[in-house]
């Protein structure tokens, strides 16, 4: 299977052994984890195993695997042509030397990592894709896609508006209509009212499950660690959606029992913080690990891998494909990514989350060279502080060399917000 996909076996083994070690140290060593996490541990152990086998089996049955790098690519539409949707964002400092042969050095880690995985031939997901979908979000991704495109068999770009205007919405709708056509051509299947409704239903159920999880986290003591919750939000992007939904709901049943009994993973007297900012793709667990080893627990993520990716539900009513695509447009147009200008709803939602989840402070996380989030971080900090919400701005990348400095800041921030 691996050689069919063109994977570099030696490099791939090195990556997996690094991942396995990190997973053991960061996740499996946590105390008092919910039983329901076993499913996600299994998924992680098979992330480059059974799941790839499933993708290959799906392909053998004539289904298409569609990869994407952004929450603006509607999974509903992919499911409507019986496709399999996989997230391709990468979170490891791997293959950066190779990436830097085609990209400038001062590029964000997320983009470099995606290139590193592709050029190093270590990502079976990208190799399994029939179509890879890019999107015009930030300048970094937009221009990097020009370089990525010739490396892939079938690369397609969705244009995105930059302002939340009527014209912007019309552009997004038009792009989604074009994307339907692209998917139909690639799969040889028609999007029908019935197939699209089914796609919407499956995707909404998945969102409702992670929303349910997000809501349970308001409890104190925290019934689940921020690391485990982040992991679930990461798995959201590449697991089978129906099985994922079922597993999250089962976990939530268990967590609700925990809350009733007052059982938690951390002491009740632990500082509660929210992370807001850039997405954290697997296996980027750096900041959460530092936070949760500094007398604090993360109770929510305002991120694409988190609430920004999942908090809106697509309206399922409609008797034509056009109406349903319009519903999808309405849903996705809400996403308050920092590439939009202005983008006031994002910080408003962080305030709302802080209140709802009984958080004591916000850690704003930016990837170095991610200008949209870095630029937003200063006004966001000022506004949150004005609203009485202590905020810490962090800017970092995928390397581990600044872990000491970050830990100092995080510990000092915890001392600031949480006076025992």
């Amino acid at each position: 299977m691996w050689s069919d996909l063109g994977i570099d076996l030696k490099a791939h083994d090195a990556l997996l052994s690094m991942l396995g070690g990190a997973y053991q140290d960061i996740f499996l060593s946590q105390k008092n984890r919910p039983e329901g996490m076993k499913y996600f541990d299994f998924v992680m152990s098979e992330v480059h195993g059974l799941r790839i086998k499933e993708l290959m089996d799906a392909k053998a049955q004539g289904r298409k695997v569609i990869g994407s790098y952004c929450v603006f690519v509607p999974e509903e539409l992919i499911l409507a042509v019986d496709g399999v949707s996989v997230g391709l964002c990468a979170g490891a400092e791997f293959g950066f030397e190779a990436a830097e042969t085609v990209l400038p050095r001062n590029m964000c880690s997320l983009i470099k990592s995606a290139f590193g995985f592709k050029l190093g031939k270590v990502c079976p997901y990208v190799e399994a894709c029939d179509v890879v979908v890019g999107e015009n979000t930030c300048d970094g991704k937009k221009k990097a896609y020009e370089i990525l495109s010739p490396l892939l068999n079938d690369f397609y770009v969705i244009d995105l508006p930059q302002m939340k205007s009527e014209a912007g919405k019309a552009l997004l709708k038009q792009e989604y209509v074009k994307f339907v056509k692209k998917l139909e051509d690639a799969s040889g299947k028609k999007v029908t009212v019935e197939s699209l409704k089914k796609g919407i239903e499956i995707t909404n159920a998945k969102r409702r499950a992670v929303k349910r999880l997000a809501d349970i986290r308001k409890a104190n003591p925290a019934p689940i660690s921020g690391l485990d919750a982040l992991l679930i939000n990461q798995v959201f992007f590449y697991d089978d959606p129906i099985r994922f939904t079922d597993s999250v709901n089962k976990l939530c049943d268990e967590l609700e029992e925990r809350v009733k009994k007052g059982v938690g993973v951390f002491d009740k007297n632990t500082a509660r913080v929210i992370i807001s900012g850039c997405p954290m793709a697997v296996p980027n667990w750096k900041i959460p690990m530092l936070v949760e080893s500094s007398n604090a627990v993360i109770v929510g993520e305002e991120s694409c891998v988190g609430e920004r990716g999942a908090r809106w539900i697509t309206e399922a009513d409609g008797s034509t494909v056009e109406k349903l695509v319009e519903n999808i447009t309405e849903r996705y147009f809400n996403i308050d990514c920092a590439v939009f200008t202005p983008n006031p709803s994002r910080v408003e939602y962080v305030k709302e989350m802080t209140k709802k989840l009984n958080a004591e402070g916000v850690i704003h996380y930016s990837l170095q060279f991610c200008h949209p989030y870095i630029v937003e971080s200063m006004p966001a900090e000022a506004e949150l502080e004005k609203a009485g919400i202590p905020t810490l701005r962090l800017e970092t990348d995928y390397s581990q060399e600044d872990a000491g400095q970050l830990k100092t800041r995080i510990e000092a921030f915890v001392e600031r917000v949480h006076k025992k």
Binding site: E385, T396, Q405, R409, E411, E415, R416
Partner: protein, 261 residues
């Protein structure tokens, strides 16, 4: 009752011992490649009482002494307030970090800023620039103060600034003027961090770089504020940790480091 604070910085290890509210002992040593040993030597054969560790190596000490830790930001806040009862703004420039801390009226930390991961504009930066110009640290500050004008140094990145310095000296730039340019670069970097958090009023300046007169003078001029430098600016973090240790009620565990030869 005794209590002690040990501050393991990137360049220097500091120990402060308090007895009944008085500072009875302050010691310093270079961190070296083995900061744990450096700390053990400092703490050797002294009755320390309760120990609290701070600084970069705090978790290393914690693992060995099983003592409590606080961040150096909190330690500086506590130490500064003890030395200067009404201070609200603290600047600490250490070996590899620059920190600006603001306090509320009661002395609680209300905000802080810190430089990013590189040692741009910190003590290490000054050391390397002094070496690039062939000065000792003492000569470096004096030479800069003697200059009538400054060469413009654009970077506080140690690597880039070193090449700027080399390029200036190779163009026949006056050594003292380059030295002043470097001092001004470090001041301007600190001022931008300070301005983001510091409430009005005097600035309490601590850390090894506070020993540098040229930085002190230009900091006061740039901020147009009084700059207060304690008698021993390097001990503030260790002192803060010792103060924190003295408030740890119910923890009567006493530490005494006995070294085997």
């Amino acid at each position: 009752m005794r209590s002690a604070g040990i501050d393991i910085g990137s360049r220097t290890v500091k120990l402060a011992v308090l007895e009944d509210g008085e500072l009875v002992l302050a010691r310093k040593a270079l961190s070296s490649h083995n900061p744990l040993e450096a700390a053990a030597l400092l703490m050797r054969d002294i009755d320390l009482g309760t120990v609290v560790a701070t600084g970069y190596g705090r978790h290393l000490i914690k693992a060995n002494l099983n003592c409590a830790v606080i961040s150096e930001i909190k330690a500086f806040a506590l130490g500064a307030r003890w030395l200067s009862a009404d201070c609200r703004a603290i600047l600490d420039i250490g070996g590899q970090d620059t920190k600006a801390i603001s306090l509320d009226e009661k002395g609680n930390m209300s905000k802080f800023e810190m430089n990013d991961k590189c040692a741009a504009g910190t003590g290490r930066f000054l050391e390397i620039m002094a070496a690039a110009l062939g000065y000792t640290l003492e000569e470096f500050s004096k030479a800069a103060l003697s200059a009538k004008r400054a060469e413009k140094i654009n970077s506080t990145c140690t690597v880039f600034a070193e090449s700027e310095v080399i390029s200036l000296t190779h163009q026949g730039g006056v050594r003292e003027e380059v030295a002043l340019g470097i001092h001004k670069a470090i001041v301007s970097r600190s001022v931008s961090i300070l301005r983001r958090v510091a409430p009005p009023g005097s600035i309490f300046f601590a850390g090894g770089v506070a020993l540098n007169e040229c930085v002190r003078v230009h900091l006061a001029a740039e901020m147009v504020r009084e700059v207060i430098v304690p008698e021993d600016p390097q001990i503030v973090g260790a002192l803060g940790a010792a103060l924190y240790a003295s408030t740890k009620k119910g923890d009567e565990k006493s530490h005494r480091v006995i070294m085997k030869d």
